[in-house]
């Protein structure tokens, strides 16, 4: 139970958190933080104090848009009020062309990178390199950034940049720390990674251990490579004698390319868009008893952390 308790300690302070949930709001423990004082940018016009610096113990997060469809960012926003909680308590969004007017990639703790890189577009290449230089943790957000996804099928020849034909997952150009596969990645998964990234950067050693244990599978995926396909279910699971026919891959596939025939996955590879969701969701790709055995406590804690 060590890592679970440390999660609670970080989120709720040192108080006993076994009591009522209403009392567990992380906000109450941090009420004195300057971040809770919300000050408008245009304060000078209405003679209010100048904006204060963001709170020290929030992390800084940026969303970097490479050759993506913005669906990953929509998924992040689909955390609904949870997104506001994340931005209130845990993270400042320092860069996101879709949502804010910061033009150049700043320094940040976590870069959520969506989309693959068109290597025929020099600006894109510069941006991904700059992202790596400016971010402590680079997260490949979604199937395109992790594995190329639909851009694996690009081959140029279209107006008005017919030479834009080479697209690579970001891991082929820079080192990537964490993968969040899926097309689109789920809001719940992005939320979980946000909470865990906060613990990893702002927690004590024990809390870092918890976040590390949770994130390890996604770090391992980032180390394992930049290619994904429905074929992974064959090459890495069935061929390896590990498939037990649960059907998770079929449920995870966004394009219904997987059906279960006599209890085993049947993969329509011409439907597959190479997003990597099936293999990542498979309980026989990675499975950590340390983390999953504590599912009840971890889910409760994340829920509590998301309370406004």
């Amino acid at each position: 139970m060590g890592i679970l308790e440390s999660l609670k300690t970080l989120l709720f302070g040192k108080r006993d958190v076994s009591g009522e949930k209403q009392d567990e709001k992380p906000g109450s423990a941090k009420a004195e933080k300057p971040a809770d004082v919300i000050i408008e940018e245009k304060a000078s016009i209405i003679k209010e104090p100048k904006e204060e610096k963001p709170v020290a113990d929030k992390i800084t997060v940026g969303h970097v848009h490479m050759s993506g469809c913005t669906g990953c960012l929509v998924s992040f926003a689909d955390t609904y009020e949870g997104l506001l909680t994340i931005l209130d308590k845990y993270a400042d969004l320092v860069y996101c062309l879709t949502l804010a007017d910061v033009r150049h990639i700043p320094e940040m703790d976590v870069a959520l990178v969506e989309g693959s890189v068109c290597i025929n577009d020099h600006l894109s290449v510069e941006e991904i390199i700059e992202t790596r230089k400016n971010a402590k943790i680079v997260v490949a957000l979604g199937g395109c950034a992790c594995y190329g996804n639909i851009t694996r099928f690009c081959r140029g020849g279209q107006m008005n940049q017919p030479q834009h034909e080479g697209f690579l997952p970001i891991g082929d150009l820079i080192d990537v720390d964490v993968y969040i596969p899926g097309c689109a990645p789920t809001p719940q998964q992005i939320r979980n990674v946000c909470v865990m990234a906060y613990l990893l950067l702002k927690g004590n050693d024990e809390q870092k251990a918890l976040a590390g244990a949770y994130l390890t599978p996604f770090m391992n995926l980032a180390k394992a490579g930049t290619e994904a396909c429905g074929c992974d279910i064959m090459t890495q699971v069935i061929n390896q004698g590990l498939c037990m026919g649960c059907g998770s891959c079929a449920a995870a596939c966004p394009v219904r390319a997987i059906s279960m025939e006599y209890g085993k996955p049947q993969i329509e590879r011409d439907l597959c868009i190479k997003c990597g969701a099936c293999y990542a969701q498979c309980p026989r790709s990675f499975f950590s008893f340390d983390v999953v055995n504590q599912y009840e406590g971890i889910m409760d804690a994340i829920d509590a952390a998301m309370q406004p």
């Binding site: 998924s75 969040i180 596969p181 899926g182 689109a184 990645p185 789920t186 809001p187 719940q188 998964q189 979980n192 949770y214 390890t216 599978p217 391992n220 890495q236 390896q240 004698g241 590990l242 498939c243 037990m244 026919g245 649960c246 059907g247 998770s248 079929a250 449920a251 995870a252 596939c253 966004p254 279960m260 006599y262 209890g263 085993k264 997003c275 969701a277 099936c278 990542a280 969701q281 498979c282 309980p283 026989r284 790709s285 990675f286 499975f287 950590s288 008893f289 983390v291 999953v292 055995n293 599912y295 009840e296 971890i298 889910m299």
Partner: protein, 288 residues
């Protein structure tokens, strides 16, 4: 820890004679879902329903008592119940989902809740996960060979299959019984079962199985806070008849022994995958 975390373990059976008529053991799974459906605890449950072929399960979303009754009984073959876990929250429109499954399917479910890579909006819609004890499973062709070849019995005529007391039992509609030594079943086991380290569905809300209790009864582990709450309500509603586990034979010791045997054997196989399959190479280990 071979039995996982649990709040209580009891011997139980359904109080509903209609459920018991075709239940594999104590009718726990069917009764739990029927009760939860009546009470609005779930809107429906993913169960192993019938299919065109005898004793071949087909995952099904049951939203009525009739559909639950149709899925009674163990089919010793693979039913990919997790394949419906997302669809049940989409076209079926369920908000409170029940799911029955083997230990590996409970693992898949909990992984899917903690790491929802392709399972958007599924995690918080799981209302009741019932796990069944599982020593190993068989591909459907394996069941055909066991029953029709080794058992010399037409599968269409079979009324019940059971594994217990060291044998594979085949009961026919007309009252004949065939038993096979478990030894002959081993080569038909699904290979993926040999890396499984869970016997009594440690990650379910409530798990149940036949081992430990007399015929017609089930052993029941109440595990999570959710499971504890639902079990208490079901008992209060008179859905189950119960006995203390230590009052029945063969009791919890046999469950512990079989769980230990399974985990020990499969742990050994997992280790052998790292060293005995190849030279300077290892087969993949999913347990990081």
């Amino acid at each position: 820890m071979v039995l996982g975390n649990y709040k209580q373990v009891i011997a139980a059976r359904s109080t509903d004679p209609e459920i018991l008529r075709k239940a594999q053991d104590g009718g726990i799974v069917t009764q739990l879902f029927a009760y939860a459906l009546d009470e609005g605890i779930i809107d429906g449950a993913i169960v192993a329903g019938p299919s065109d072929e005898p004793f071949k399960p087909e995952p099904m979303v049951a939203t009525t008592r009739e559909e639950l009754l149709a899925s009674r009984g163990t089919r010793y073959s693979i039913s990919p119940n997790m394949a419906l876990i997302k669809e049940v929250t989409r076209s079926y429109g369920l908000d409170k989902v029940g799911l029955v499954g083997t230990p590996c399917q409970m693992q898949a479910l909990r992984k899917g809740q903690l790491y929802p890579v392709g399972l958007r909006d599924v995690a918080d819609k799981i209302a009741l996960a019932v796990g069944i004890f599982c020593m190993e499973n068989f591909p459907y062709q394996g069941i055909i060979q066991l029953v029709e070849d080794h058992g010399a019995t037409k599968l269409d005529n079979v009324s019940k299959l059971d594994i217990g007391k060291g044998k594979f039992w085949i009961y026919t509609e007309r009252g004949a019984t065939v038993d096979l030594p478990l030894k002959v079943t081993h080569k038909y086991e699904q290979p993926g079962c040999h890396v499984c380290l869970d016997y009594v569905a440690n990650l379910a809300d409530i798990s149940t199985g036949s081992v430990g209790t007399p015929d017609g009864w089930s052993s029941v582990f109440v595990r999570s806070a959710k499971g504890d709450d639902i079990w208490a309500k079901a008992i209060a509603a008179g859905a189950f008849e119960t006995k203390p586990m230590d009052s029945v034979k063969p009791g919890i010791d046999l469950v512990t022994k079989l769980a230990t045997d399974k985990i020990t054997k499969n742990q050994k196989y997992l280790e052998s995958r790292a060293t005995e399959y190849g030279v300077g190479k290892a087969l993949r280990n999913p347990y990081i």
